[in-house]
């Protein structure tokens, strides 16, 4: 059953492609920008950069651990390196190097993961990254960002470059609906609350989401409005550091929170939000995400439906959490 919605969102490019475009812009502005890849440049879109700046593109072959540590060495010598791969490979295969060569000495390396979550579809679970946010957030000194659309992705690539310190930027494979408007300001440690005026200020429930589930949250918001439930939606694109003030305000003003994400619920944004809520303004919460399991092959839409990551699932969670108030 599809959620009835009138909300029409224009389809944009994939966040990974927006990253590739922004990296070229950065490369033009700063000769110290270097890109590294591990034989996936056509998928991560670092091939845009490689084409324009071949001398500043480092092809590492299928050796992600080596790539992360080479990136750390480049950063230690004053370069501004962006190392890209699928999220599952960059984070899992490079995790030890992210820990010892990057996080611990606080090295200025930017790691960009593409093909995050299960919306990669047919390739199946060995390529699906559902643990990356938990792992990246567990590393001291790391900033973790998850853009919802091409506008956020471009802005966050620039924010990552301007920030001194290690960053993990999580992007996706499929085209992403455009939820933001050009010129919106994205900052590390910030969040974006959508205009909820037409939804009575979102006094009944807050939906906090990141990545592709922001669009689903906006669809759920409309559905809930039709039922007389006033919901607000926050794009929590900065997963670490978190916008604590926005979470506290949401807990205080709406008194119920749903967190929705394309990641394991056990280690994703939800538990981080819950920590802030329980420390400050306890209220009922529900979590929409991937349960303690690995997914399978299928179309992205089929998978999002089967694993409970649609607007319908978010709306159902919102009704449950409202009933618990």
């Amino acid at each position: 059953m599809q959620t009835k919605t009138k909300l029409e969102l224009k389809m944009g490019v994939a966040t990974r492609e927006a990253f590739g475009q922004a990296l070229v812009e950065l490369g033009r502005a700063n000769k110290d920008v270097v890109a590294l890849d591990a034989d996936l440049s056509k998928s991560t879109y670092t091939h845009f950069f490689a084409k324009e700046f071949p001398e500043r593109f480092v092809e590492c072959g299928i050796a992600e651990a080596d790539m992360i540590a080479i990136g750390a060495g480049l950063a230690s010598s004053g370069k501004l390196p962006f190392a890209a791969s699928f999220s599952c490979f960059a984070i899992n295969k490079g995790f030890e190097q992210l820990r010892v060569c990057v996080a611990f000495p606080n090295v200025n390396l930017k790691v960009v993961g593409t093909h995050s979550g299960i919306s990669i579809g047919e390739d199946g679970p060995s390529q699906m990254s559902i643990e990356d946010i938990g792992l990246a957030c567990s590393l001291p000194n790391f900033t973790v960002l998850s853009p919802a659309d091409e506008i956020a992705a471009r802005a966050l690539v620039h924010a990552a470059a301007a920030h001194v310190g290690p960053v993990f930027l999580r992007t996706g494979r499929p085209k992403a609906p455009i939820v933001h408007t050009a010129g919106t300001c994205f900052t590390i440690g910030g969040s974006f609350q959508f205009n909820g005026a037409q939804y009575n200020g979102g006094r009944d429930v807050t939906i906090i989401a990141h990545g592709l589930l922001v669009a689903e949250a906006l669809r759920a918001q409309e559905t809930l409005d039709n039922e007389g439930i006033s919901a607000r939606v926050i794009d929590m694109y900065s997963i670490k550091p978190l916008d604590r003030d926005a979470i506290v305000r949401a807990a205080r003003e709406s008194g119920a929170i749903v967190v929705a994400e394309e990641h394991l619920v056990a280690t994703g944004l939800g538990v981080r939000v819950a920590q802030v809520v329980t420390e400050t303004n306890p209220c009922p919460m529900e979590f929409v995400g991937i349960q303690d399991t690995y997914a399978e092959s299928g179309t992205p839409a089929e998978l999002m439906q089967k694993y409970g990551l649609t607007a319908m699932d978010i709306a159902a969670a919102a009704r449950r959490v409202k009933a618990r108030k």
């Binding site: 500043r56 651990a65 060495g73 480049l74 230690s76």
Partner: protein
Amino acid sequence: MITHAGSGHPGGSLSAVEIVVALFWDVMRHDPSNPHWPDRDRFILSKGHAAPVLYCALAEWGYTPKSELNTLRKLGSLYQGHPDKRFIPALEASTGSLGEGLSLGIGMSLAAKLDSRPSRTYVVLGDGESQEGQIWEAAMFGGDKKVDNLVAIVDYNRIQLDGFVDDIMSLEPLADKWRAFNWHTIELDGHSIPALQAAFAEAERTKGKPTAIIAHTIKGKGVSFMENNPKFHGVAPTEDEMKRALAELN
């Protein structure tokens, strides 16, 4: 120093003494009054457990205070159990988790090439450390990309924590492995300063290939009861052993 700490790695520090001395005194361009000089050569102790030998070199050059060497491994000491850039900013890398230094060195060498700087990078690897897969990822990269401003020195003392390397996981044929990865490869006596000087000069003359120096060394070199004794991989000498060792070394 290690006796005062009560723990540490004397054997693998002593086997690397001449390598470190040749580099810091005869080969590398570096300036203790300007530790972040962009054109400096880089030194990475990938076998980070041999930190004491590096700390002695840094202190002797005035990068860090000699008077605090005996605070090794104590709370708040500059001289952490393994090299830590947060405590000694002049260090090029925080190491200790084996297998990662050669990749870091490649990154530094690439940065020097991109900036057209004369800097060269020297990475000291352990023999046991060479069992790590990442070493060979980096070896493949260095040979393929012709990173000729990079030198890897393998401190081949033939002992690792659990015993003799050949009993645990033999590296042989080690020189052939590096040659097969397209590195200019030199084997020498790692306790001969002239041999090391000549090899580093040869490495600098070698274009189009990085250089691997297989330095045959003796674990615990210079102290009769430590030499070739696996016990002294990671155990501090007692007070009495320290006195006997210092007498022999002096």
